[in-house]
Amino acid sequence: MMPTWPTASPPQGVPPSNGYTATYPVPAFTPVRVRQTFGQSYSAPQPSYPTAHPYGPAQSPPPVPTNFQSSAASPPTADEQPRKKVEWPDSVRSYVQRSFFPANMDPAVSREEMEAKLKETIMRASEDNVLYSIAWENMPLPQQIIKQEREERAKALAYSAQAQPLYTNAPVAISKKRKSTDLEDVANLSITPPWRTGQGARLEDRVTFSKDKRQATEESADNTSKLNKYEKRQKRFNGGYVSTYRSPSPPPGDGPVVGTCEKLEKNYLRLTAPPKPENVRPPRVLKNTLELLKKKWKNDQNYAYICDQFKSMRQDLTVQRVRDDFTVEVYEIHARIALEKGDLGEYNQCQTQLKALYKLGLEGKANEFKAYRILYFIHTANRTDLNSVLADLTPAEKKDKAIKHALDVRSSLALGNYHRFFQLYNETPNMGAYLMDMFVGRERLAALCNICKAYKPDVPLRFVTEELYFESDLEAAQFISDNGGQDLLQEKDGTIVILTGKAGQTFESHKAKAFARVDIKGQI
């Protein structure tokens, strides 16, 4: 049921009800359809001001009694200006052109939305007679306005971005003349540009609102101890998070950004241009964020969320060129969390950065992470980098417990000494066991192949359980069966033995597969 458009009534500022209404200026054009989405709904040029509901329930304005053509689907371009028969200043023209530049196009904002917003902005400016006084060069592009609005909306949950009462006192006469051909009567309007006052105030309201919310959380978070725990493996990382749309691009600045954002939490957005300072958190805010995240990780164990938050923290640190002990701490914690969840892609990123940071001379658990690096390279069978790491080790480092352990793991594997390997596996310091878990499976297969070739006619299952450090005979048997050896298990004299004599090539093919390709799930 179509709403009735107030026809002859003087346009009032329609108070926003339930946050979704707005009076809408009558645009110069008559698009036939209205946006149902975020939409700037084009309302038909009415003899009066229509009450459009851009974000509310779907409505469409009545068909317009027009006496001019309108190309509904094509919003004004610079070339179509003559239609309005208004003089557009060059700055406006260039603003329009810039909006349409492919380089400025934003994938998250559809072209229609952008055009609609563009029209709206310009219309409003022309109606308010500020076409010449606005600094169009500094005006954010329609895409950016839309994105901002979305963000505000997402945060505020209250007001729509462009909601504003516009015309309070405009005389009726003008409304009658409000056609696309006739905007020169704008001069009659004498109100301040709506977006200067209304929208601005709204934004501030919104910001403080969320800030309060944020502060409340802050106070409740207490400082927990460092996240250096040796937890049991829990749910595996399942690739939950997805990075969202790109941030808008402000003009580039010089040097590192100085952040001003006070919000503790922030989703991760991949940057394509220098970030805006109000989106970047300064280090002191980040310190609080870290405490909050530590607590959240302990309580919720929500890896997707934590990873997202940590990535955005790392990003904030990088763009502000902050490279100090705090940065090291952030990376180390993230790396450990990633390890625990088996997220090797993310872990590798952190690891690379930590290496660079340690090289700058920063303190941190350099040895612990160097040991992890060695184990990581063993896992990915990256001989080149393994060689490089070995080349870089100092004698002091070689004596460090964790590094020595990693080196022993490497050499035992190189010589095929599985006995020693599994002993070492059992006594891995710090969180290296998570890394070793990644390749323990294939090493067990290799050891099994060796055993089957050398021992005849059989070996007790218990021997395999102990040598290969299975948790129990059952687990060992399960492993053997999983790899095609179920027929080799037999009972003899009250215990189970593995008929190594009959094993043949059973395990060889599985082993070949296990060693064939090392997959680091995620980015390099």
Binding site: P256, V257, R270, L271, T272, A273, P274, K311, R314, Q315, T318, V319, R321, R323, Q349, T352, Q353, A356, K359, L360, R383, T384, L386, N387, S388, L390, A391, S411, A414, L415, G416, N417, Y418, H419, R420, C449, N450, I451, K453, A454, Y455, K456, V459, P460, F463, E467
Partner: protein
């Protein structure tokens, strides 16, 4: 060579005889600074070189080239234009190079030399340079690489704005900036040579192996084995159209085979590596001691893995450096002294790691162990002869404990039996020992015929 009649005469002569190497000499920067300075000042013979404008210099060069005997031999206007650019760039480079010792502006020198090589590439692409002139590319490429390395050494790491857009940063990126740039330029030259469709006698493909070798050297320095493999792959793909490998100059063959061998070696593909390195070794000039030494550095560890053999003292005689490197290890391996082997390996570890042969030599321990076990076997004596006239057979049933004792010899810690068994298992699996282990009785049963393959026992 100074700009003037001498240069143009040389140009003409080279053109007459189609002598690429002679031509290449004219753009060589390998001259003492004084001479470079002379060249820089001689360019504008028609006036004061200090105020020489680019166009004037170019015009002068053009006059000189046009009037040289080359004109008579069919150099086209287009080619002259190309060569003017080349010589102009060369002239500018000499100016910078003449002072580079004092100013250390290697980066500028590198950039200017890059202009030269670009002019050359442009020459082949647009100005119809002929294929016999490719030695110029050799000279240009070789020095590009040298300048790049100098430039890298002399610059410090500084922040680039690119870091701001990434999530993380990496100061290591800037360490070999110029060399990476050089690699890209060389790659372009490589494509240039590869893509020549002229018939083989006049093709630029003859320059391929020189450029490839330059590329390999660059990539090795950058530790970018992946990129080197790319080159190899492209090469195999294009092999059909190229002249036969053995038709190229021997020096290029040796260098190429050496690098190919080392690439395989680093990937632990020892069989392939052995093939390439052996070929390099055989083709190498008998007096090229340094090259032979380099080849041996990788060939010896390779042999160790593939044939389980050690270099003889005679082989290593002319190479004192290699002797120092390998002999201690070799002795321990021969004697089966495990503990001493470990010590020797540790001592020379840095040297080995630097050459990337540490991981390979580590596997020599297997051989040492095998030799040790063999000694135990032999020391076990013979079985009592079953019948008269039978050949005596060695005792084949050996308790694990005996091996354990042998292995613990020389080292302070006692190796537990399980570990000994594990080591034996590995030996058997790798084929160094033939036999099997009986867990129940803790005995190793060795094969009657050839328990230790390859050693005559």
């Amino acid at each position: 060579m100074e700009f003037g009649p001498a240069l143009y005469h040389e140009f003409g002569e080279a053109w007459k005889t189609r002598d690429g190497y002679r031509l290449a000499k004219t753009i060589s920067p390998d001259l003492p600074p004084a001479q470079l300075s002379n060249i820089w000042q001689s360019a504008n013979s028609a006036g004061n070189w200090k105020s020489a404008r680019d166009d004037d210099v170019k015009a002068a060069i053009k006059r000189g080239l046009s009037s040289s005997p080359a004109r008579l031999d069919g150099i086209s206007q287009k080619e002259i234009k190309g060569w003017v650019e080349v010589y102009f760039a060369y002239w500018q480079a000499t100016g910078i190079l003449a002072e580079v010792q004092q100013t250390s502006s290697w980066t500028t020198a590198y950039e200017q030399w890059k202009v030269l090589i670009n002019a050359l590439i442009q020459g082949y692409n647009g100005h119809e340079f002929e294929a016999w002139t490719i030695p110029c590319l050799y000279v240009a490429g070789k020095h590009l690489r040298l300048f790049a390395m100098q430039a890298d050494e002399n610059t410090s790491v500084n922040d680039t704005s690119a870091a701001a857009f990434q999530d993380d940063f990496d100061p290591e990126l800037q360490k070999h900036q110029k060399l990476e740039d050089c690699a890209r330029v060389l790659n372009r030259v490589f494509s240039l040579c590869l893509s020549d469709r002229a018939p083989l006698e006049e093709s630029r493909k003859w320059g391929l192996y020189y450029i490839i070798n330059l590329l390999f050297k660059t990539y090795f320095k950058l530790n970018a084995t992946g990129l080197s493999k790319n080159v190899l792959r492209i090469l195999t793909a294009g092999r059909g159209d190229m002249p036969d490998f053995h038709a190229f100059p021997k020096s290029q063959q040796v260098t190429f085979k050496y690098h190919e061998g080392v690439l395989c070696f680093l990937e632990e593909n020892y069989a392939e590596a052995e093939k390439h390195l052996t070929e390099a070794w055989n083709t190498c000039h008998k007096d090229a001691m340094r090259n032979k030494e380099l080849i041996l550095t990788y060939l010896i560890p390779c042999h160790l893995i593939t044939t389980h053999t050690l270099p003889t003292e005679k082989l290593l005689e002319p190479y004192p450096r290699l002797q120092k490197l390998f002999l201690p290890l070799c002795r321990c391996i021969k004697k089966g002294e495990l503990h001493k082997f470990d010590l020797a390996l540790q001592e020379a570890e840095d040297e080995f790691v630097k050459r990337r042969i540490y991981l390979t030599l580590e596997r020599g321990r297997d051989i040492a162990l095998r030799n040790l076990l063999r000694k135990v076997f032999i020391a076990g004596g013979f079985e009592p002869v079953a019948k008269e006239g039978d050949k005596p057979v060695r005792r084949t049933r050996i308790p694990v404990a005996e091996f354990a004792a042998a292995i613990s010899l020389g080292s302070e810690e006692k190796v537990d039996n399980d570990e000994v068994e594990c080591l034996l298992v590995t030996m058997i699996y790798k084929g160094l020992v033939k036999g099997y282990i009986s867990r129940e009785r803790s005995i190793v049963v060795l094969s009657k015929s050839g328990a230790f393959p390859g050693t005559g026992v």
